[in-house]
Symmetry: C2
Subunit: 367 residues, 2 copies
């Protein structure tokens, strides 16, 4: 059971610090984090004295069963109308009432409607990403769930290796992995499964296609599950064909460089270190191997209720790692028209280092 009450309590302290009378939480993962609702339509209003959760009639039973620490209100019209009415009824004297909004997760049109619904004297103000910041650091309950998701996710790579062979289609490999995930209790995949073979392995986001696996190239497998709300994310890259061929030897040099870069970033990740230093550690290894310009994306990202969440592990980012943060470490190199390699683990940050959550080996593998 997640500790929704203390999360809301922390948020209230933040609201006081930032001089907001209320925060309208519109981002569904933030709502889930704060009160436990798992459906697809809802708004949570948190004030110093109350929390009110608004959803529609489809989620009546579910909301009453799931929501902790907030009064459930079933909106008869649009959710924003119900929010407006609730604020009006509570705030006879709403003069000077400042309501924070999640500006990255509220549409321009929604804000406009809300302004029209609010009592005069109240005003909207863009809030900093207070809930996203809290979510960066995972508590013990969250870490337990993340470990379960990562374990289940990792088991899918074993399944992939059972079916990966010449001639099988990328989507068939994905289908077997997804079926195994579902059978093992995953509610869904955390993103469209990437099985990218041949020249498609040079696409950082090559989701599984009808292409058949051919020899003489890499296959990138990048996949994850959602289990009890938490995401896993993992990438392994395997060579298809004889490991002793000339092209396999060249490929292996790139593979080993990526593996070394990934290890360098993992070694750099610990509490107190800036995320940009972790990114730089991976980038330096690849630069020294002459592959720097083929590493075209950033080194990683936070994972939790969302597959991509704060912090970004990238150049120019200012975030400092703290104990309990969970991030991916996933350098890769891509040669357009030829092939690509990426290796990705999830790690949890600790004092003095980090713990690799992903149990799968990373040695060069030819199938």
């Amino acid at each position: 059971m997640m500790d929704f009450q203390s999360r809301q309590k922390s948020l209230r302290r933040q609201l006081a610090t930032h001089r907001f009378d209320a925060l309208l939480v519109s981002h569904l993962p933030n709502i889930r984090y704060l009160c436990g609702f798992t459906g697809s339509a809802g708004l949570l209003l948190v004030t110093q004295a109350h929390s009110a959760f608004f959803t529609d009639v489809r989620y009546d039973t579910q909301a009453h069963a799931e929501v902790t620490g907030a009064r459930v209100i079933i909106a008869r019209k649009a959710l924003l109308n119900a929010v407006g009415e609730w604020i009006k009824s509570r705030r006879k004297r709403s003069k000077g009432c400042t309501i924070g909004i999640e500006a990255e997760n509220l549409a321009v049109a929604e804000r406009k409607r809300l302004v029209e619904l609010l009592p005069s004297g109240s005003k909207l103000k863009n809030a900093p990403p207070l809930v996203e910041q809290a979510r960066m650091t995972k508590d013990e309950d969250e870490l337990a769930r993340i470990r379960q998701a990562v374990e289940l996710g990792a088991s899918l790579f074993d399944r992939a290796l059972e079916v990966l062979r010449l001639g099988i289609k990328e989507v068939e490999v994905a289908a077997e992995m997804e079926y195994a995930a579902r059978r093992a209790g995953a509610s869904e995949m955390s993103f469209p499964t990437i099985i990218a073979s041949g020249a498609r392995s040079a696409l950082p986001h090559g989701r599984a296609s009808e292409q058949a696996i051919a020899a003489g190239s890499f296959v990138i497998c990048d996949f994850g599950v959602i289990l009890h709300g938490y995401c896993s994310d993992q990438t392994r890259t395997v060579w298809v064909g004889r490991a002793s061929s000339q092209e396999a030897k060249e490929a292996r040099r790139a593979y080993e460089a990526v593996k070394e870069a990934q290890q360098a970033a993992i070694s750099a990740a610990r509490a107190g270190v800036n995320v940009s230093e972790v990114d730089a550690a991976a980038r330096q290894v690849l630069r020294q191997a002459g592959l720097g310009r083929y590493f075209t994306h950033s080194t990683g990202h936070g994972v939790g209720l969302e597959i991509h969440e704060a912090p970004r592990v990238a150049a120019g980012q200012k975030e400092v790692l703290k104990p309990g943060m969970v991030v991916t470490i996933e350098p890769g190199v891509y040669f357009p028209g030829k092939w690509g390699v990426r290796i990705e683990d999830m790690v949890v940050v600790k004092d003095g280092g980090c713990e690799i959550l992903t149990p799968t080996g990373k040695d060069f593998l030819a199938v």
Copy 2:
């Protein structure tokens, strides 16, 4: 091959009518509709003279392969920055330049950043949902894809009937259906599969859980696939247990009323009719059966590139059906703590009537 050029041409006529110099398209399904890009990050700027598509380096190869009718620009920083620079470079005299934004699909914070990036003299204005309106009416290429998606979707119900038996878990049924979908070429499910048995069938959105199927209740199966970008959506409800029992007889009365209501709505759906009349046709049948207050949601919604798109088939809506619109017809009744029934087909609107796309039978079925 979709006719992206003529879709953009239609949009340009709309822009001229509404006196916009450009429209910034930020809703990904709208971008796919206008230029063919299928990835997860992009912005499309359509002016009278040009279309420019902005994405990041992960989608470099893919965007160049997919995008039709727009110049592809790979943003080195944030996409909005690239948009701002592009507008600046094209508009030395941007005085009076009015850029429409998709206010339902642009975040408050994104709009704020964009304002800061634009040259002085240019201004942002909330555009009406021009692309959503165009997308309501499907062309022949779209209808062909939708028919394929609906056929594949329907085949999953046959698979469900093969595995549905006492004691099997809801998620196991969903896993078999989703595996069959993947094997048959679906890129993913169009929404989390709903397999809701026992009292869970009274939840309109009861996604498959660990609950085992038990006798003496309905199972609602609501599911769909995405095939070549287009969604299917279908619901069938089956009784579990002896059809001759007393409780089955009572359940059957509700089932037949929902079936009759669904047929009434289908009979009402034709070009020229207001969507609210279609909703009223279903509602009237259930009211006459004494079940009106258990039909707690609306009758249907548009389906296409998105699982839920315009028009809504609901009371109070003003949209008039036109030939080529594709909508669901899905009345249902729900008795909290007991069970629920829903029957859903997809139909395409024609002059003088509509064509039911979903091929699955609707007779009361006990397993």
